[in-house]
């Protein structure tokens, strides 16, 4: 194994969108990890604090935990192979499907954990080398609803339109469907500071999560009713004379339709829909509207619904109606999930998008990007299928027949996962580029072992829109290559020998040019600036531009500079509880695991802390089912079944059960989830479906 002689490298965590600053120093510990993670107190987002995942992030760098040679499938089983052989097989597999079924039969599936450079080059690879319309990524399952709503309202999808530290200076923060105390613990210091500063924290969640424990007020709606809740609050804002009329007049359009929408969500009706008593609605509306500054933060709990876009829009409406946007200390932000969830959605791995958050259907955008790429704009494909639709079509007559998958594990993370797994098996050819042999890689024809965050340089854009640089601290082990190398080699094998560098800096320089003039403009951002300035906030159109920490203070990014209200209406979830499936199921995360768990399940400390799935249920429900703590439960939905032990807690609604989704096999929560899609964002309905719960054994 090669190790470079370094003393210390400042970089960022491989996991969530907070992208905590951390310092890596060489190590020779008993776990075999070649580096050790230290605090880096100077970085403003986490100021040294790290969670258990961050502290143990070096674990998967150890040789035993990961893949160190390509694998190819022979006679049904995976065997080690040379890079030459593996890459030849991938190129042939992709080319073959294109030849036989047309270019759109070749698909690419990316991930929100990929660096900007990788996401950019992956999109370019799809459009220039494969010339397929079918590229999308797992970020569709994360932030797409918030992205769509933010873009519609503000003209720009910058997850947080302010630095995270602003949260501590607001007077009232409403956190809707987010649990940062478990999903991004270092962010909690900003919530604690908020309260120390006298600000109020209101948490909206069907569960009394660790985050809800920190709140001044915990509002516990029925799953799938956040939209109604937001409009019910808006109704009370109107009725109690708390509208910010001057702000509405000066900086927004479309309020009258939204007023009517709020009148259709009168308090008694909203109480009925949400289960939140009117006096509580009144208290929340009053606290938020009367505060001089206020922030609403949404996360997956509000967004992962077949009405996720409209739900975020309703919370934006509440902010706009009370003048809580485009001002210091106020605004609506999305707590982005994946490490590069923000950057990953800006540079062209999304089915309808070109680098710089440009639209693939905009002729000017196509011309600009085609010029940077040195191709004819007419050769660029149009928009393709969204993530779930792409996966649902795998191996089907009009669907993708050969897939290159990079940085994602849909066997565990996709909704209706058994169905998606079956579809993956129907592919003519599957290539997976990953760090470990994930559950999806196990199905592949070729597995390409790639470098990890500490072994390669690249930029990521955190939840604040702050572009950060992860620097290589050591070289990857023998037998491991980078994703950029993979793309360069595949491009060359498929006949494109220029424009695919494996040097991240060269790729970033091209990304700057491609994004220049687009909504997510990186033109003025350089690796040197990022190092010197603790990151640079986009848009940053020129090297002498300071970057934009708070983009909407003077005007919103719409053509007329005004934010747009959206007249939306509550609608029920795709599936309602009934006699056969009488309860709500909601899914989520735990502190010690990340996403599909491909990395974190392989870290012994984390696996010990969170060894497997469980089902949270209320004591009253447990009593009715005759279940005691620890009993194995079988959960059944119309799509599948999962088994996990009971964890009885009064912190959940009696009509709802919760199951975390980080595990494969029998305990896979996504065997149960519903693939109903949001009509705008194409987000699946991960967060709510109807379920039946039985003691395992009783159901046979």
């Amino acid at each position: 194994m090669t190790t470079t002689t370094i003393t210390a490298v400042d970089t960022h965590c491989p996991y969530c969108a907070l992208q905590c600053g951390m310092r890596l120093v060489p190590a020779d510990g008993p776990d075999g990890a070649p580096v050790q993670v230290l605090e880096r107190p100077g970085f403003p987002v986490n100021r040294g604090a790290l969670c258990g995942k961050g502290r143990t992030a070096a674990g998967p760098l150890a040789p035993g935990a990961r893949l160190t040679a390509p694998l190819v499938r022979d006679a049904g089983t995976l065997r080690e192979a040379s890079w030459e052989e593996a890459l030849d097989r991938v190129a042939a597999g992709l080319a073959d499907a294109g030849r036989r079924h047309g270019r759109d039969a070749v698909g690419v599936f990316g991930g929100g954990g990929l660096t900007n450079e990788k996401a950019y080059l992956l999109g370019k690879f799809a459009r220039v080398v494969l010339r397929t319309a079918n590229i999308d990524y797992n970020g569709r399952f994360c932030m797409s609803s918030a992205a769509a709503a933010l873009k519609a309202a503000f003209g720009l999808d910058r997850g947080l339109p302010f630095p995270l530290a602003d949260v501590a200076r607001a007077e009232c923060v409403l956190l809707v469907g987010g649990n940062p105390a478990e999903t991004m613990p270092p962010a909690v210091r900003h919530l604690r500071e908020l309260r120390e500063n006298g600000g109020r924290l209101i948490v909206v969640d069907p569960r009394r999560t660790r985050t809800a424990e920190l709140a001044d007020l915990h509002v516990r709606p029925v799953p799938g009713t956040d939209l109604a809740l937001a409009l019910g609050l808006l109704h009370l804002v109107i009725a109690d004379g708390l509208l910010d009329e001057a702000f509405i007049a000066a900086r927004t359009t479309g309020f009258e339709q939204v007023r009517a929408a709020a009148m259709a969500h009168w308090p008694e009706r909203v109480e009925r829909l949400t289960g939140v008593p009117v006096p509580v609605l009144r208290e929340v509306a009053g606290r938020f509207a009367r505060a001089s500054t206020g922030i609403v933060l949404t996360a997956r709990g509000a967004e992962q619904h077949s009405k996720g876009t409209d739900t975020v829009a309703a919370w934006i409406d509440l902010c706009l109606a009370t003048g809580k946007a485009g001002r210091p200390g106020s605004g609506l932000g999305c707590l982005t999930g994946q490490g590069n969830g923000q950057g990953g959605r800006e540079h062209g791995q999304k089915s309808d998008q070109l680098p710089g958050y440009r639209s693939l259907t905009d002729p000017a955008a196509r011309a600009h990007v085609a010029a940077v790429w040195g191709v004819d704009p007419d050769t660029l494909p149009g928009p393709g299928r969204s993530a779930y639709e792409l996966l649902d079509g795998l191996g089907q007559p009009d669907g993708v027949r050969a897939l290159l998958l990079m940085g994602s594990n849909p066997v565990v993370s996709a909704p209706h996962a058994a169905h998606v797994t079956a579809r993956l098996k129907e592919l003519d050819f599957l290539a997976v580029s990953d760090v470990v042999l994930s559950e999806t890689a196990e199905l592949a024809d070729v597995v390409l072992p790639v470098a990890q965050w500490a072994e390669e340089t690249g930029t990521v854009t955190n939840l604040e829109g702050r572009v950060l640089l992860r620097e290589a601290a050591l070289a990857p082990p023998e037998g491991v290559r980078t994703d950029l190398y993979v793309l360069r080699e595949l491009a060359a094998r498929l006949g494109v020998r220029r424009g695919f560098s494996e040097d991240p800096r060269e790729v970033f320089e091209e990304l700057r040019a491609a994004s220049a003039g687009g909504p997510a403009d990186y033109a003025g951002i350089t690796y040197e600036r990022v190092r010197a300035e603790d990151g640079v906030f986009w848009p940053c159109p020129a090297e002498d531009h300071p970057g934009t920490p708070r983009p909407f203070l003077d005007r919103f990014a719409t053509p007329d500079g005004r934010a747009r209200f959206a007249a939306v209406s509550h609608r029920p979830a795709a599936e309602q509880p009934d006699a056969d499936y009488p309860l709500w199921l909601t899914t989520g995360r735990v502190l010690a695991q990340y996403q599909s768990g491909a990395q974190t399940r392989r870290v012994p400390e984390l696996a010990r802390a969170a060894p497997g799935p469980f089902v949270e249920l209320h004591p009253r429900l447990a009593e009715r089912l005759g279940v005691v703590d620890g009993d194995r439960l079988t959960l059944t939905t119309r799509r599948g079944r999962a088994t996990a032990p009971a964890r009885i807690t009064a912190g959940i609604r009696p009509d709802t059960v919760f199951m975390p989704f980080h595990w494969p096999g029998l305990g896979r929560a996504n065997s149960l989830t519903h693939p109903a899609l949001d009509p705008v964002s194409r987000m699946p309905e991960f967060k709510v479906c109807a379920v039946r719960v039985e003691r395992a054994g009783d159901d046979r």
């Binding site: 915990h218 509002v219 009517a260 929408a261 009148m263 259709a264 009168w266 008694e268 009117v278 609608r571």
Partner: protein, 405 residues
């Protein structure tokens, strides 16, 4: 189904139907014919309009405009179900493919002497409280008045009295029933509500009937059957509402209390449906917004073809008043009959005027309940009722909160 959908009425049920049709992609060629001069508005908010909390212009409801055509001040006077045509007052006959009756209900005027003037209108100072126009007249009149009497102590009467008290008008309720809102509350809750209203300055005369209105041309007092005279220069009539069925009846459509509909919300004539306060389903006319919207949603799903097999199986309505300190909720069977168990907690120390809670259970099912004063558990209770959930062994904790809202 396709073609022209004509909706007679532009009230809450009609607005919801139209909004749902548009949301489900079926908004073209839908016309609402409304007799009132206003576009659809939220009738449940009239008390807030009366107190000035909401502006009369601000309570409009979404109705799928601009795709939906709304004809205001346009009362439909005739329907021919054979030729599938309808005729608006003073207008041209026009055809429809599907007709939806959403004509609502009229206020019931009590048999009280001196109610009307010689020309048949209500005496000066006497008001119904059903429409935005009623509300505007009443609000204006209230600024001149010194004492008000509300005739009728049901849901509407209590709401009106509370609103009048809120604008500073000394107000009394004359109620024929033995206690307030006897249709939905029990005696304990009715009495507790009476006490709460007393705190707001509203005095109630239960078990009393208004016999005559004094005064000419303007009302000066309400004479009770007991002979007692209540001084009043403002009188609000809140004696319930009756489904508006004249149009349906004249068209030969089956009517009992309301326009009779089946689980498809179809009336007796082909291509005719009825929803909302005018409709009678399984013998019930609800007269409440919640069931009207349930019906509108079902009919929209059917007419759009998005879910053509959807049927309406009745609603589990809730009556609810939320007016600052005055709060109650009642649902289901609140009386005590054979085979039910009743759980009742009265706590004089809770809230500004004490609390009263009652649950009615049949076996392990919650079949009715009343909450007054302390509504912290209303969400969980109404959900348990609505979903007909089996309850745990000890239902007492349904009446206690668990820290979270």
């Amino acid at each position: 189904m396709s073609g022209r959908i004509a909706v007679v009425g532009a009230g809450m049920a009609a607005a919801r139907l139209a909004q749902q049709l548009v949301e489900r992609g079926r908004g073209d060629d839908v016309t609402l014919y409304g007799a009132e001069p206003h576009r659809p508005y939220n009738r449940t908010l009239l008390a807030d309009v009366l107190t000035g909390r909401l502006d009369a212009a601000a309570v409009g409801l979404p109705c799928g405009a601009p795709q939906t055509a709304v004809r205001t001040g346009c009362e439909v006077v005739a329907v021919d179900v054979r030729s599938r045509t309808l005729t608006p007052a003073g207008g041209e006959e026009s055809g429809y493919d599907e007709l939806v009756l959403a004509t609502g209900a009229n206020p019931v005027l009590p048999p009280v002497r001196g109610l009307r003037t010689a020309d048949g209108g209500l005496k000066a100072g006497v008001h119904a409280f059903r429409s935005l126009a009623d509300c505007a007249r009443l609000a204006e009149d209230a600024t001149r008045a010194t004492r008000a009497v509300v005739i009728g102590g049901g849901v509407l009467g209590v709401s009106a009295a509370r609103a009048l008290a809120a604008v500073g008008l000394p107000t009394e309720i004359v109620h024929q029933g033995p206690y307030l809102i006897e249709r939905h509350l029990d005696e304990g809750a009715g009495d507790a509500l009476r006490g709460a209203l007393e705190e707001l300055g509203v005095h109630t005369y239960p078990g009393n009937r208004a016999r005559a209105l004094d005064g000419d041309p303007r009302v000066t007092g309400v004479r009770l059957a007991t002979g007692y005279l209540l001084d009043a220069d403002l009188v609000v009539l809140a004696c319930g509402a009756r489904p508006r069925t004249g149009l349906a009846r004249a068209a030969g459509i089956a009517v009992r209390n309301g326009v009779v509909v089946d689980d498809r919300l179809a009336a007796s004539a082909p291509h005719v449906f009825a929803i909302g306060d005018c409709a009678e389903h399984a013998g019930i006319t609800y007269g409440l917004a919640g069931p009207a919207w349930d019906q509108a949603d079902v009919l929209a799903a059917r007419l759009c073809g998005t879910a053509p097999k959807t049927v309406y199986r009745g609603s589990r309505p809730l009556v609810r008043l939320t007016a600052g300190p005055l709060e109650y909720a009642a649902f289901g069977e609140t009386g005590e009959t054979d085979g039910t168990d009743v759980l009742r907690i009265a706590d004089a120390t809770r809230g500004p005027y004490g609390s009263y809670k009652k649950l009615v259970l049949r076996g392990d099912r919650l079949v009715g309940g009343i909450l007054l004063g302390d509504l912290a558990t209303v969400g969980d209770l109404t959900h348990a009722y609505e979903r007909d959930e089996a309850l745990p062994g000890d239902p007492l904790h349904l009446l206690t909160t668990e820290g979270a809202a």
